[in-house]
Assembly symmetry: C2
């Protein structure tokens, strides 16, 4: 390209990774955060919740990966409409720094995205391998030199405290997860109630270790299945009504519904294994890989976020 | 930011990863390539060789990661001088699409970068773990949605055919490595000669498999050490004078001196393990990880590139 006849020099970008701080006070330190969402379906509640996050939107980049199938096309259309509304017409303070949307070519390995179908045990290995690859594609393609934090946020997380990012970051941990619950109508009590949803946040058990040691090299342990009791300590059941929301517990496996990660953990190489890694896969394998790199996962049993209920 | 009083909408970028082709004819298909170089020292021969590559420079993005120590500062200063010369003053066709330079904070774990010191066996584990992290930081931070290929090229590779990228890509393999040699003065023959340099390109052996199976979980196999004979088949010794430069061999381990990778291999999650992965580390672990993801490494025994000789 030329300007005034003189060729314009192509861009040279210099970054000192040391100068990208990652601290417990990210707002004060102007730290950029990348919010990454694999999205098979669009939920209005997800978008509305995202909009009400009080972390300065000018420091937030959004990244999405959406399958290139019929359901994905519908999700993309809905998302695009909301993005235009926010980025073009909302007050400037509501607009995000930038938004990257990736479409992926591989079909999701399940024909149906329904909760019952998704959670069948024999469907877990291919489903979670595909999810891991989707997360990796999104991560490798969007993480930049100026990113301090990565917030993994599933498309069906429809309710979090508005201060989610600040609250989690304040703990200053390499990877940290809130407790993911689900609201439902309790027919017995005849009123709305809530129950644990994400069983991938756990502390390891001798039973699970033993099961792993007796498995084939490519087999994976799954959590939350009656046929395969692991006796791991699940964060889902550690919640205490009225308990300290800042209480921390160490974790060996994490879920990805909401998961805050220091960008340096990913930069060191921590990704979501789409294969058996110490008999773990995807987000649970990620926690293990982070640990191999020297980064310990932390959970907040009493800090809750909510998953959509179909 | 405002333009004419009306707030400018922040950028929204949409990418269809399917539309980013990765083919055996990358020039015809306008495929972007990212050339990634971890750089502890600057070699003029590296830069001169890079400049003479005939792959269209407007499709080449360069990425560097340079340690933030005294030697790294000197390398950075030299590199920066050459970059300015090329990007500002060279003919437009010589200029690269863009250049990203990262400085990294962690000290290289060795006090000296001399060849003898680098290659001592007890220095390999921490050195290669640090190298793996440097490669991962560079990769995770620079790979973009429009990248088709990644060429890993060490800073001390000072001679390659000008058509290196086209030649390697033409094989249309997920990961492919030329044979890395070194020129030296042969005192016996009293003339310049060449010898194999990179021993990380190999085919596995039953001996190495057996050694691995008897090792501690965190231990790694190393190649090219007399005290630890693996009897692997080394590509370094497969070269035949005058042999077909396009002859392919399958590989189980690869080196990173020059290594062309389809971007989708990395996007699936393949990185450089900074820990023992099947008793392999860094580039050798990368080949194994790619394999776990379904991508087979290929070597070209008769296609040569040359390493600097200190
Ligand atoms: N890109 C992509 N996203 C997916 C795919 N399958 C599910 N997702 C999204 O990934 C996240 C987790 O999947 P989900 O089915 O909700 O998992 P579950 O709640 O653990 O059953 C959600 O945000 C989904 O919308 C897929 O094949 N591709
Ligand atoms: N960023 C970074 N690059 C390094 C470091 N150590 C070596 N390098 C570079 O990484 C590449 C491989 O290292 P080198 O020492 O040449 O490995 P060898 O030829 O296998 O002994 C070269 O391009 C080096 O300049 C380091 O600590 N940090
Ligand atoms: Mn879900
Ligand atoms: Mn070298």
């Amino acid at each position: 390209s030329t300007s005034g006849g003189k060729p314009k020099p192509p861009p040279v970008m210099r970054y000192n990774l040391n100068n990208v701080t990652i601290t417990g006070n990210p707002v004060e330190n102007n730290e950029n955060i990348l919010v990454l969402t694999p999205m098979a379906r669009f939920y209005q509640g997800y978008w509305d919740n995202l909009l009400q996050l009080t972390y300065p939107h000018e420091l937030i980049t959004l990244g999405f990966i959406i399958p290139k199938n019929r359901e994905g096309n519908a999700a993309y259309a809905e998302l695009d409409k909301q993005i235009t509304k926010t980025q073009k017409f909302a007050p400037e303070k509501d607009r995000f720094k930038s938004i990257i949307i990736l479409r992926q070519d591989f079909e999701p390995p399940l024909s149906s995205q329904d909760e019952a179908e998704r959670h069948k045990m024999q469907n877990q290995m291919p489903r979670r391998a595909a999810m891991a690859k989707a997360r990796n594609s999104l991560l490798f393609t969007t993480l930049g030199p100026a990113t301090s934090w990565v917030l993994w946020l599933d498309a069906d997380i429809i309710e979090t405290p508005p201060t989610l990012i600040q609250d989690l970051a304040h703990h200053d941990r390499p990877l940290i997860v809130p407790n993911c619950f689900q609201r439902y109508y309790n027919g017995e009590k005849k009123k709305m109630d809530e129950r644990p949803y994400d069983f991938n946040n756990w502390q390891d058990s001798p039973t699970a270790q033993k099961m792993a040691s007796e498995m084939g090299a490519d087999d994976i342990l799954l959590e939350g299945y009656r046929d395969m009791p692991t006796y791991r300590t699940l964060m889902a059941y550690m919640e205490e009504n009225g308990g300290d929301v800042h209480q921390e517990v160490p974790l060996d496996g994490v879920g990805g519904t909401a998961l805050l990660v220091k960008a340096d953990v990913h930069r060191d190489g921590a990704m979501f294994p789409p294969f058996s890694f110490y008999h773990l896969i995807e987000t649970e394998g990620f926690a293990k890989m982070a640990k191999r790199l020297g980064w310990q996962a932390t959970g907040l049993p009493n800090y809750k976020v909510y998953h959509y209920n179909e």
